[in-house]
Symmetry: D4
C-alpha cells in the first residue's frame, strides 16, 4: 500500500486531484498496492527473478503469449510445468529455453544460484515415482535451492534407505515421493528432524486406487513432521520445500 | 468317509438294510463322511483337541449350551472369542475356564504344548494395537504355537523395531498389527524371509477411516511376503499363522 | 554415532572390553548413537528441553509413569496431548502442571521463550474449529514459537479475513484450520508468501463427511504454498509449523 | 385442462360422443391438457419461442429428425447441447444454425432479446473451467438473459476477483464454475446478495476425483445462498439461472 | 467506498491529516466501506429487518450475548437455527421469543409480512422428512415469504402427489425434501416450471448412507430445473428460495 | 378410470352437470379412479385383506391412529413393521395383536391361509442374520405364503447347506440373507432353479462396512437368478417373494 | 441321488462290489447324481430347450467350440450374450444364427413360443438406456416370454409414463431400466402390483458415477416391490423376469 | 552383525585401526552385515538360486541391464513379471529365456525341481481369472513348488468345484483367484484345512468396481483360513504360497 496510494494522496494534498477523482481512483486500483502480481496461480517468489506458468491446459500459442508478456515485463527467468515433449518441440526456438524431460518442465533463463538456508532431499520409494520427484527437483532448483536425490529406497529394502542416513539427517526439508502404500514418508519422518513434505503418486495397481491409498497412508503418518500435497503434485512439494528453505526472518 | 457310510454299506452287504433304506440313509447324512464337523465357523483343527466358539453375537446361555454339547462330545479344550468381561463373569463357574482380558478370549482346558515347526512373532505399531494383537496371540497359543510379542515398534521409530531383528529374522510366521498408516507390515515384509500376516486395526482418527487406510496400505505393500486379513481380525491372523506353523506334509 | 560407540571402541582399544563383549554391546544398542531417543511417537526436539506424550489411548497411571521416567531423565518440560479434563483432574497434583482446556493439552514446566525465526499465525474458518486450532497453538508455543491467532474468518465473510492482512502477510508460517468446505487454506495460500499448513476439521454435517470434504478441498488447493495434515490434527500442524519456524541452517 | 377435455365434454353434452367413447378418449389423452409438451428432457420455457435438444447420445440423423419435427410445429428457435464439432459439421446446412464451439452448443434462430429482470454473472476459477461456463452462458442467452462473464478469478488470487466487485454485487443470479477445490462458490456467496448456482467441474487431477471434490466443497459452502448442480452441468446451471432471472409473479 | 474514504481524503485535502497518516488509515479500514455487516455466516437480508444465528455449536450463554448485541444494534427480528428444546428452555425468557419445535428454530420478533413475488411450496417424500422441511418453512417465513406445504407425497404414491398439481404448477419456487432415493425432486422438476431446490435428508437405512444416496440422486436429476443443497440443510434451501422469491430488479 | 369419470360424463350427457363444472370435477379427482389406495408406502395386496404400516419413525400414538382408521375402513388384518418391543408394549391392548419379537413386527388379525403357488425358503448364513430373516418370514406369512427356514448355513460349511438340498430344489422363491461376504446368495442361485432374492445384512465388522460388502457381493453374483434388496431389508424381500409366489395370470 | 448310488448299493448287496470299493466309488461320484449340467454360468432352464453362453471374454473360436459341443448334445436353441458385431461376423456362418444388434446378443434356433403365465414389460428412462433394455428383452424372449417395451418414459415427463398405464398395470413382471438418478423404478413400483426388477445403467456423467448413483437409488426405493441387479445387467434382469413369469407350481 | 563388525573391532584391539577410523567404518557399513541383497522388490529366496525382476514399469533396455548384472553375479535363474509379449520379443535372444504368455512372465534358466513340503492348488472362479492365476502358478513353480490347477469352478456351479475335493483336501496351500463376488475363497476355506491365499481379480463389470467388490468379499470371508493379497496380484499369491510351502524349521 505504498506508491499508488501515496501518489493519489499527494495529488489530493497538492490539490491536483479532486476528492471525487481520488475516490474513483482508489476504487479502480484497490489491491495492486498490496503487491499482488501473480501470473496464473504461481506467485512471484522474489523481486525480479522468477515466474511460473502452469502448462497443463494451455496451448503452445497461449504459453508463448504469456512468456512474451513476462519477458516484456523484465522477467528473465520463467518455468513452464506439465509441458509435454511435443509442446516443448513447438516452443524450442525460445531463447535459452531448456527441457527437463522426466520432470516435464521447461525453464527459460536457467536455474539461479542456490541461496536457501540448507539442502532439500528428494527421495522416492521406487523408480516409477521418479517423474513426480523430478518435477519437485526442477521446481526447487529453479527457485534457488540445493537439491539431493535419493531414488528407489522403498521401505521393503530398509538397508538401501539407511545407507543414505547422512543425507537424511542433514536435510533442511525432505520431499518423500511414493505410490503403492506410501510408507516412505513415515519412515523418513521418524529418521529426520526437519519437515517432510509427502507426495503420494499414482504408481501401483488394484487397491492402490491411483494414489488414493498412498495419500491416505501419508495423512495418517505416525511421524509428526509429515504434511501432504495432492497426488502426483511434485510441483507443489518443490514449491513448499523452497519456501521453507528460504525462511524469511 | 468312514464310519457311517461303511456301516450302512455293511448293513446292505449283510442284508440288514434294504437298498431303499440305504439310499434314504445316505441322503440323510450325505456329507458327514467327508469329515466335516465344525461348530460355528471354526474348524476342528486336530482330532480330539480343540474347538472354537465365536462369541460376538451369542448370549452366555447359548455359549454355555454349546460348551456343554462340545464337552459331551469329548472336547476337552475350547476357546471362546470376542467375549466381554461381563459375559465371562456369567461363565466363570465353568471348570478350568480362564479369561484373557486384553484378547477378550476365554479358554477352557488351557493351551496345549507348542508343537509347531517354528515360532510366531506378533508385532504391533503402537500400544493401542495390543488388544487386537493379543487376540492373535491367545488364538495361536491355544492352537499349539510358540509366540513371541514385539509391541510398540511403529515405523516412525525404526531403532525400536531394528532392536528386535533377531526375533524377526528367525520367525516362522510374522503377524504385523497396525492402525493409522499400517506401514509396519511392509517394513517387516522387507526384513523377514517368512510369510507376514498383516492385521489392520481401527486405531487412528480422521482419515484413518476406522482401519480402512491401514487395510489399503497393507494390501499395497511393496513387500511380496504380505497377505492381509480383515480390520481388527486378530483371531483370523492367529488362526492362519497357526496353520502355516503346523504345515502338514 | 559418537559417545556410546566411541566408548565401546575405546574399551576395546584399551583391552577393557573383549571383542566378543563389544560385538554384543554393539548389537544391544545399535541405533541409540544415531541419536534416537523418542518417547512415544514424538521426537525430542532440542537437547534437554521438551518431550511430548500422546495421551489419547493411555491411562492416567501410564501417563504418570512416563512422566516420572522422563523427569528422572532430566526432562523438565513435558506436554501431554489429547488429555480429557477428567484425566487431567487425576494428574493435577503433578508439580507445575497446567491444563489448556480448549486444546485438551497439559503442559509441565511451562512454555519456553519463543526462539523461532518469525511468527506463526493460526487462523480458523469458524468458532467450532477453535479446539483444533488451540491444539496447534499450545503445541507451537510449547515448542518455543510466537503465535498469533485469527479466529472465525471464514471465506464467506472476506472482510473479516482481510482485516487481518498485516498479520497474514508478515507470518513465518500459517496454520489454516477449517471444516465444511475448507476454502480458508486456498485464500490464505493466495494472500501470504509463506508455507500454509492446512488442518481440515470434522466440523460440519451431511456431505462434510466428518472432515473428508475439507481434507479433499485442501489437497486440491489452487494455491501452491499449501500442504495438509490429517483431519483434526492440530498437534501435527503445530509441530510441523514449529519445525519450519526453527529452520536449522 | 382446457381444449381437449372441454371438446370431449361438449361432444358428450351434445350427444355427438357416447359416454363410452368419451371414457376411452379421456384415457387416451389424459395428460396433454395439463400442458405437457416437452421434447426430450427440456421444457418449453415460454409459449412459441424455444426448444432444447440434448445432443449427447443422439446421431446427427436423429437430431435432424427432431429439428424437422419441431420446425413443423412452428418452433423457430432451437438449441442443441453437447454437440461435437464433427456432429455440427453434419448439420451445418440447417438454415440459420450457429455453432458455439467452446460451449459445444448449436443454436437455430439465434438468441432472443434479453427480457429477464436482471443480469446473470458467470464466473470461473480457472481458464480450464471456461467450456463448462460457456455452456451455461449460451444456454442463458438462448433463454433470453443478459450475461456477464468473469473468467479466471480463482480464490488464490483474490485481487482479480475483487476487481469485479461491482459486477458481483449487482448480479441477479451468479453461476460459479470451478474445479479443484471449488472454493469460488463460497467466496462469491459471501460477497453477493443473490442466489449462487455452483457448478463443479472435472478440472484437476489426483484427489480432485474428476469433480467430486469440488462438488462436495460446494455442497458444504459456508455461504447460505449457494445451491449446486451436477459436475460439468453448465446447461443445468444456465437453465436454473434463467428461470430465476425470469421470475414469474 | 464512500464516507470513510471520503473523510480521509478531505482531511488530506484540508491538510488536517498527513499523507502518512492517511496511508495508515486507509490500510486499517480498507473494506468496511463496502458495507459488510454479517453476524455469523448469515447475511443481513434487508436493511433494519432480520438477522440469523446458527445455533448448532453455540452455548445458550453465547447465543444470549449475540442476541443482546444485535438488539442493541436495533435489530428487532432474529432467528436462531439448530436450537435444541433444552437450549430453548434456557432462552425462553427473552422477550417475544417463539420456538418452532419441528424446525428446531427460535424466532424473536415474529415473522414479517410476506412480501415476495410469489409462493414457495415445500414438499416432502415422507413424514420422516418433515423436520428438515420445517426448517426450510420457518426460514422462508421468517424472511418474508408465503409458504405452502405438501407433505408425504413420495413418488411410490403418485396419486397423492398429483392431487396437489395446482399448488405445484403455481409455485414461485419449490423445495423438494426427500431421503431414501430422493426421486421426488425429479418428478417435481418435471411437473413445475419454476426452480426446484432439492434437499436430501438422512432418512433411510442401509444403502441410503445417511443421505448420500438421495444427494447423488438429486444431483443427477433428469429434470433441468433442479439444484441441490447439503444433506438435511433445510435452512439453506429456505434461504435460497427466499432470495429467488425476492428477486431484485 | 370408470365409476367417477363415468358418472361425471353421464351427468354431462344428462345435462345435470355443466361442462364447466365437469371440467372442474375432472381436475379435482383425476387419479382416484385408477384405484390407488395405499396407506403409507405399502400397497394393499388383495382386495379386503391386508394392510401394512411402516413403524420405524412413527409414535405409538400415530400408529394407533392409523390402525383405527384402517379398521374403520373394514381392514381386519394389519401388519406393523420395525416396531420395538417397547412400542409394542404400548399397543398390546389392541384386539388380537401379536408381537413377533425377532422380526420386530406386530400383526393384527393373524396370518391368512397360505394360498401361494409354492413355498418360499428363507436361508441365512449365520445366526446373527436371523432377525432380518424373520422380518422376511413374518412378512411373507402375513401375505399368505408357506415359508420354510434354513438358518446358519453359511458357505464355509457347505455340508450344512447341502443337507437341505431338497428344500432348496423345490422352493418357489428363495430369500438368501447374509452379512459379511454374502456368498450364500451365489451358492443358492447356482443350486436352485427359482428366483433368489438376496438380502445383505449389516452383520460383520471392519471391511464389512455395515452391509456394503455383502450388498456389492450379491449384486455381482455369478448366478443369474439373483436380484437384491437394500441392506437389512427383510420386509422388502418377503414382500417381493410374496408377489412372485402369488403370480397373477 | 438315485441311479449311481442305487447301482453301487445293489452291487454291495449282491456281493459284486466290496464295501471298500463301494466307499471309494461313493467318494468319487458324490454329486453327479444331483443332476448338475450347466454350461458356463447359465443354467439350462427347461429340459431339451435352451442354453446360454456368456460371450464377453471368449474368443469366437472358443464360442464356436462350445456351440458345437452343445449342438452335439442335442441342444437346438442357444443364446450368446455380450457379443460384439465383429465377433458375430466371424460366427455368421453358423446355421440359423441371428444377431440382435442393440442387445449385442446372437441367437441360434430362434425364440421359442411364449409360454409364460403373463407379459413382461421393459421400460427405460431414456433412449440411451435402450441397449441394456434390449439385452433384457432378447433374453426374456429367448426364454419363452411375451415382452412389451415402453422406452423413454423418464420421471421428469410423467405424462409419457402415465400414457402407458394399462401396460404397466397388467404386467406380470416389470423391468425398469434407468441411469442418472434411476427414479423410474420407484415410480413403476408404486404404480404396478407385480415384481419390479430394476436395472441401473451407466448412462449419465459426473456424479452419476457410471451407474453407482442409479444403483443406490434403486436399492433405496420407497416402493416395496423393487429388487435390483448389477449395473447394465440386462441379461440378469431378463433371466430373473423369465423365471418369475414361468412360475413353477 | 558378525564378520565386518568383528574385523573392525579386532583391528581396533590390535591397534591397526584408530578409534576414529573405526567409527567412520561402522557408520559406512552399518547394515550390510545383516545380509540384505535384494534386487528390486523381490528377495533372493534361497542362496544361489533365483532372482525376480518386476517388469511393469521398466524398459527392455533396463531389464536387459539388470539381467546382465544378475548373471555376472552368478545368478542362473531369473524371473521377469508383468512383461508384455512385445517386450518379450525384444528380449527373446537372451539365452534359455522362456515366455509364459498367459502369465505374462519370462523365465531364464527354467524352473527348479519342486522341493516344497506339499502341493499348491490354484483355483479360479471363471476362465477370465486364468491370467492372474497363471501368474501365481508360474511364480510358484519358478520358486520350486509343485502346482495343481483347478480352473472355472465358481460357486454357482458347486458340482464342478466338489468334483475336485481330493485335490482341495490334500493341498498344502490353496490360492483362490476370483473376480465378481469372489465367493470362491470362502467355499474353499470351508472345505480345506490349509491356508487359503485369496486373489481378487478385476474381472466383472458395474458394481464389481474393478476388483474392489471381490477384495472386500474375500476380506470378510466367514472361513478363518483366508488371507488376501492385492487385486490381480497373482505374483504375490504365488510368492506367499511358496514361502508357506517351504516352511523353514
Amino acid at each position: 500500500m505504498s506508491i499508488d496510494h501515496r501518489s493519489i494522496l499527494e495529488g489530493v494534498r497538492d490539490k491536483k486531484i479532486s476528492v471525487e477523482e481520488a475516490l474513483l481512483k482508489l476504487k479502480e486500483v484497490p489491491f495492486e498496492d498490496i503487491d499482488f502480481a501473480k501470473v496464473d496461480i504461481h506467485r512471484k517468489l522474489r523481486q525480479g527473478s522468477a515466474e511460473i506458468i502452469y502448462g497443463e491446459s494451455k496451448t503452445t500459442k497461449q504459453i508463448r503469449g504469456i512468456v512474451d508478456a513476462m519477458q516484456k515485463n523484465g522477467q528473465d527467468r520463467i518455468m513452464i510445468t506439465r509441458l509435454s515433449a511435443d509442446a516443448f518441440a513447438d516452443l524450442s526456438d525460445i531463447s535459452s529455453i531448456t527441457y527437463h524431460e522426466d520432470a516435464r518442465i521447461a525453464t527459460i533463463g536457467g536455474f539461479c544460484e542456490p541461496d536457501g538456508i540448507g539442502r532439500i532431499v528428494v527421495a522416492t520409494a521406487g523408480t516409477s515415482d521418479v517423474p513426480v520427484a523430478e518435477e519437485a527437483v526442477v521446481t526447487a532448483r529453479f527457485l534457488g535451492n540445493d537439491v539431493t536425490t535419493i531414488y528407489d529406497v522403498g521401505v521393503s529394502g530398509l538397508h538401501r534407505l539407511l545407507a543414505h542416513l547422512d543425507d537424511i539427517m542433514s536435510a533442511s526439508v525432505i520431499i518423500a515421493v511414493a505410490g503403492m502404500e506410501g510408507a516412505l514418508a513415515s519412515v523418513l519422518g521418524g529418521l529426520a528432524d526437519c519437515p517432510v513434505i509427502a507426495v503420494p503418486t499414482s504408481v501401483g495397481y488394484g487397491a492402490a486406487f491411483e494414489g488414493m491409498t498412498a495419500l491416505l497412508c501419508m495423512l495418517n503418518s505416525c511421524a509428526s513432521a509429515v504434511s501432504v500435497v495432492n497426488i502426483d503434485n511434485g510441483f507443489g512439494a518443490g514449491y513448499v520445500a523452497g519456501l521453507i528453505n528460504h525462511k524469511k526472518n
